[in-house]
């Protein structure tokens, strides 16, 4: 018979690292993630032939196929051990650590999202997409917000997985996220003002340009892409912290609530700064 392997209790960081790696591999092999990634590659062919001055908003492809699909993946990974709850609870790695590992695993779609927006930017530069009213820095911020959405969607899935128990909650969250984005983007159809910028930019995924045949001239909406980027990064932090709060007890729960409050205030500040700029729409 094989002898039992001697070992000492590992530090929490080592357990987190190992568990995050295991969860990352589970994420990377999840069928919904692979489906989204496959569709993204397929859609990229069409996108590369159709780049124009509005190309930063093409991030919607990665935001939907990796970010929104990621809500389902994050939710399923979080709930997957619900039938083994007692055995999992009796293990020394507690719920906060397990949730933190799941949140770190959301960097897998984030890496894909970052790689994709990098490819989009490089392709736009290489194909000499015409200069426009959107400066290089703002283009990068808008694209990076697309990459952040690929982390944010899965984090929302993890959060919903921790806080809800009814079947299909992940799907409901994904649909609500799409409706929220759709509703906020309809502000582009309204007259330019701080209020319409607020209605558009409070969503975790925002469009910045007019597109399609509805407008005689394409234009870029007002607001600061960089502050909006900071806002969506903070929303990701809020989702991750909210997921961990559910598992925390005692003093740690109190501390996490405080972190949540601070992140919330910072997010509101960033949103205010994103909206504070000139709301005038500039032709591209």
């Amino acid at each position: 018979m094989t002898a039992v392997v001697e070992r000492r209790a590992a530090p929490a960081q080592a357990t987190l690292r190992t568990l995050a790696w295991v969860e990352a591999r589970r994420y990377a092999r999840h069928p919904v993630f692979l489906l989204g990634a496959g569709l993204l590659v397929w859609s990229s062919v069409a996108i590369s032939d159709d780049l124009d001055a509005t190309f930063p908003d093409f991030k919607v492809a990665v935001g939907f196929l990796v970010g929104v699909f990621g809500v389902l993946v994050g939710y399923q990974l979080t709930r997957s051990l619900s039938r083994s709850t007692d055995a999992v609870t009796a293990a020394p790695a507690d719920g906060v650590l397990r949730t933190a590992a799941l949140c770190l695993a959301c960097l897998v779609p984030g890496a894909l999202g970052l790689a994709w927006v990098g490819w989009l930017y490089a392709t736009a530069v290489l194909t000499s997409t015409p200069d426009s009213a959107i400066g290089t820095g703002d283009r990068i911020a808008i694209l990076l917000a697309g990459a952040v959405a690929t982390v944010g969607g899965p984090l929302v899935g993890v959060m919903v997985g921790r806080w809800t128990r009814f079947p299909g909650a992940g799907l409901v969250a994904a649909v609500l996220l799409v409706l929220w984005t759709g509703f906020s983007s309809s502000a582009l159809e309204q007259r330019a003002s701080h209020l319409t910028d607020l209605a558009r930019l409070q969503a975790p995924f925002a469009f910045w340009t007019s597109s399609g045949d509805a407008h005689a001239t394409n234009w870029v909406a007002g607001g600061s892409p960089w502050w909006h980027l900071a806002y969506v990064v903070l929303l990701c932090g809020l989702a991750a912290t909210a997921a961990m709060v559910h598992e925390a007890t005692g003093g740690r729960r109190t501390r996490l609530w405080r972190v949540l409050a601070v992140l919330g205030v910072l997010a509101l500040g960033c949103l205010a700064l994103a909206v504070a700029g000139d709301p005038t729409r500039v032709p591209l």
């Binding site: 018979m1 094989t2 002898a3 039992v4 392997v5 070992r7 209790a9 590992a10 080592a14 357990t15 690292r17 190992t18 568990l19 295991v22 997957s80 051990l81 619900s82 039938r83 083994s84 007692d86 055995a87 999992v88 609870t89 009796a90 293990a91 020394p92 790695a93 507690d94 397990r98 007890t249 005692g250 740690r252």
Partner: protein
């Protein structure tokens, strides 16, 4: 090192919507295997869940492995030395037997890759699943799944091993294998074994605790419980109306468990099951018939 008294519960009470699942239970356990018997709803699973730190009691004191598991640090210290097989255990979709036990090993802080994999292989071999490690759990039989669940509880040779119906759905040959595994575990650890299989308790345990309606009805050596049935088990040609339990055996004779000897009956050697039926009376009989 295992403390002399690994588990100590004093006045432990747990209620579900006002109904007591455990009612002021005082029990303590040291090294060795203790069987927990009792009808459905007796409080065995609630008892094990409290000892496994999964469930907090409404009242009473719990001391495990020399610690009161109240703070996060103390809980983690206890859980590092604890193995728990829950009564009902589902598995995440897509996992292989190896993958699931490996995942549980990570949760049990096995971070070194090679050592963890060696330990996972060891416990899967112990439960005789070494040949199906790469099979998806969904493709395994019920008995094999139960053994996967047991394997995760055995990780790291825990000082306190809590098993809630480990042999459910396991075939007789595998039950013997599992008995060997558990008897070895009982040599160094405290093993609490909740089961409806009295023969497992008779074969493995030095001590038996019988719970009924959240209270301890019997606590002592298995032989003492069996002795309570001496002279109260009979083999007769017909069932006796006054018997607590009566059934036709394979030989065609009826085994009557009760106070009165049927006419023409001959005394039979009592078993733990007989003693259990006599102890719990009608409640146990209802459960036995239902089972």
């Amino acid at each position: 090192m295992t403390a002399a008294l690994t588990v100590s519960l004093t006045g432990v009470t747990k209620r579900y919507r006002g109904t007591p699942a455990l009612d002021s239970v005082d029990l303590s356990f040291g090294a060795g295997i203790t069987g927990l018997l009792g009808p459905n709803g007796a409080g065995k699973t609630t008892f094990l869940r409290i000892v496994a730190t999964v469930l907090a009691p409404d009242a009473g004191d719990v001391r495990l492995l020399g610690r009161v598991p109240e703070t996060a640090d103390r809980l983690a210290e206890v859980r590092r030395r604890l193995g728990y097989l829950p009564q009902e255990m589902g598995f995440p979709r897509g996992f292989t037997a190896f993958g699931f036990v490996d995942y549980m090993a990570v949760l049990k802080e096995w971070t070194a890759h090679a050592a963890r994999h060696a330990e996972v292989r060891r416990v899967l071999d112990l439960v005789d699943l070494g040949n199906v490690t790469t099979k998806r759990i969904s493709a395994l039989s019920g008995g094999q799944r139960r053994r996967v669940a047991l394997a995760q509880a055995l990780l790291g040779e825990p000082d306190l091993l809590l098993l809630d119906e480990p042999t459910t759905g396991v075939d007789p040959e595998q039950r013997v294998t599992l008995r060997q595994v558990l008897s070895r575990a009982g040599e160094r650890s405290t093993v609490l074994l909740s089961t409806h299989q009295t023969e497992d308790v008779a074969a493995l345990c030095d001590r038996v605790v019988v719970l009924d309606a959240g209270r301890v009805r019997f606590d002592g050596p298995v032989t003492d419980l069996v002795a309570t049935a001496a002279g109260r088990v009979w083999l007769a040609d017909a069932p006796h109306p006054a018997a607590r339990a009566s059934w036709r055996t394979g030989t065609g004779r009826h085994r009557n468990v009760g106070e009165a000897a049927p006419p023409g009956a001959e005394p039979a050697e009592p078993t733990l099951e007989d003693a259990y039926l006599l102890l719990l009376g009608d409640r146990a009989r209802t459960t036995a018939v239902a089972a």
